[in-house]
Assembly symmetry: C2
Homo-oligomer: 316 residues x 2
């Protein structure tokens, strides 16, 4: 079985760990969001790619969901002693080694897709991990701060401000001029079906879909998504703040309707949202309900299995 | 009193710490060698500048003479886990923060002299620390390795091979096209005298002298040097391997003769070498002998005091 998965960070990584456990023989390709990438201290950080790589490679901090297990923060403390910022992004020493290599290899002219492949040689995530694009795409957030409109990098809004200041606009800058990375469109076309894990529909999946060619390729494929919204609230993170910014309600139904029946063939919602199953606005999408909290690898595997089963059921 | 000092690494840093103790009111400018600079993992490391900065700023590892005190090596271990080299250069986590900032600021277009000034804002070394040049100069070593002639970066010969393979050539690549950094020629001209600490005459002082304009400026100045050779052997490091490569004997007299009376006005040798004082090949150079082992800050201060006294005595 060939499965292609669009991925943000923590939710996607945990779903993928479940997917690997549920269908160990499947050939899985992951298309990761790079709109969150940024360069604190000149180091190229790819938070979503790293979260997937570390989680599947056994290096993740289980408590945080991101970053490395058993981290120290010597380098960051030293950078702070120089008065250099940003101090609000919690870069650990082990993690920094990854960013040093990524930065070095990019500076040597290798595209991000090749760099990601080299990093994965160590981690052996058991999936093919591709960035959505080798081109620079950066998610920018417009908001009112200190009494005037400002545009910040997504990370500054998300991590420094905890998305507590309402965003009036979220834009994937560079996306419209970007090309899918080598292998992305091929992986979508060659898959038996495509899955959307419970990732942020705006800044994770939405940014991947903004790269020209990807949404078109998905319209020709079977796509099944897992709702990141349970009972009107995001399972993790602050997806509600992102949905509000683009005028979409924070509900399992609204997110599916936002993707639309042209893209989405199946949609898994939590039992709390089972009244959505027959919602008229989701006509054309096969909606199923089940428990969706990924409280363990086993629970994530059951959710992934259900997504696979739904995909096989609705497959075009 | 205004004193300008040409500096390599450990020997220079310890001498400078003595000089500050000996003449605390003096206005000291240090011109540091950058021929040893290199970029492991894409990080710009300036070993000599950092050794001076850390030693005078109180951050040095006293045991090693270079690098930071109480270091950890988490980042380097992670880089090794990725299979990335060079692993033979012992970059500690605290030290890496310095290199990350230097690399970031250089990439942002700031010259090395401005970057060094910013790093020193934290360390407050109590001297003005200037790189010899903002231009790229790299010391390359030619030797026979694996049965064929090869040219290596100085650090690879020095640190990886411990200078154990004889060098047939040592070249400061880029030096002849380099310009002195802003303030270098001015500091030489404005000083009451110039000191050469017990630094490597070939790859430290020699490389600084290879930058056009610096040797000429020194010929118009009073210059007093402290011999890095005691009893026919280098006090520290493998200067003998460098001297052999350029055809100079490893002796206090031969090093002074190599600099020459046009450059050097005074020369301090160790009591072991006191027969050199009246050597005919050192005619025109005022040679004095005294204990030269820098066994403590107090000992270094006495040596520095003697160098200052000799400079005041021979001053043109």
């Amino acid at each position: 079985m060939r499965i292609t998965v669009l991925a943000g960070g923590v939710g996607a990584a945990r779903f993928l760990r479940g997917l690997r456990a549920a269908v160990p023989a499947a050939d899985v390709t992951v298309i990761g969001n790079t709109g969150d990438d940024f360069t604190p201290f000149g180091l190229h950080v790819s938070p979503d790619l790293d979260t997937v790589m570390y989680t599947l490679g056994g290096g993740i901090s289980e408590e945080q969901g991101w970053g490395r297990a058993a981290e120290s923060h010597t380098v960051l403390a030293e950078l702070a002693a120089y008065g250099a910022g940003p101090g609000w992004f919690g870069l650990g020493d082990k993690d920094i080694a990854t960013h040093i290599l990524r930065t070095q290899w990019l500076a040597a002219g290798q595209p991000l897709s090749a760099v990601t492949r080299r990093l994965c040689e160590r981690w052996q995530p058991g999936v093919t991990l591709l960035p959505m694009s080798d081109d620079l795409v950066r998610t920018h957030v417009t908001l009112e701060l200190d009494g005037r409109p400002q545009t910040l990098h997504f990370q500054e809004w998300w991590v420094r401000l905890h998305a507590a200041v309402p965003a009036s606009r979220i834009e994937a800058v560079g996306a419209s001029e970007a090309s899918p990375a080598p292998g992305v469109l091929e992986a979508i076309a060659a898959a038996d079906f495509v899955l959307f894990p419970p990732s942020n529909p705006v800044v994770s999946i939405g940014v991947i879909l903004a790269v020209p060619g990807i949404a078109d390729a998905l319209r020709d494929q079977t796509v099944v998504g897992v709702s990141p919204i349970i009972g009107g609230a995001p399972v993790r993170g602050m997806a509600d703040a992102c949905l509000t910014a683009i005028g979409v309600q924070t509900s399992a139904a609204a997110v599916a309707a936002h993707y639309g029946a042209e893209l989405l063939d199946g949609w898994l919602v939590d039992d709390q949202d089972k009244d959505v199953v027959d919602a008229p606005e989701l006509a054309g999408i096969a909606v199923r309900s089940r428990p969706l909290y990924m409280t363990s690898v086993a629970a994530a595997a059951e959710i992934a299995r259900a997504a696979v089963d739904l995909a096989l059921e609705v497959r075009r």
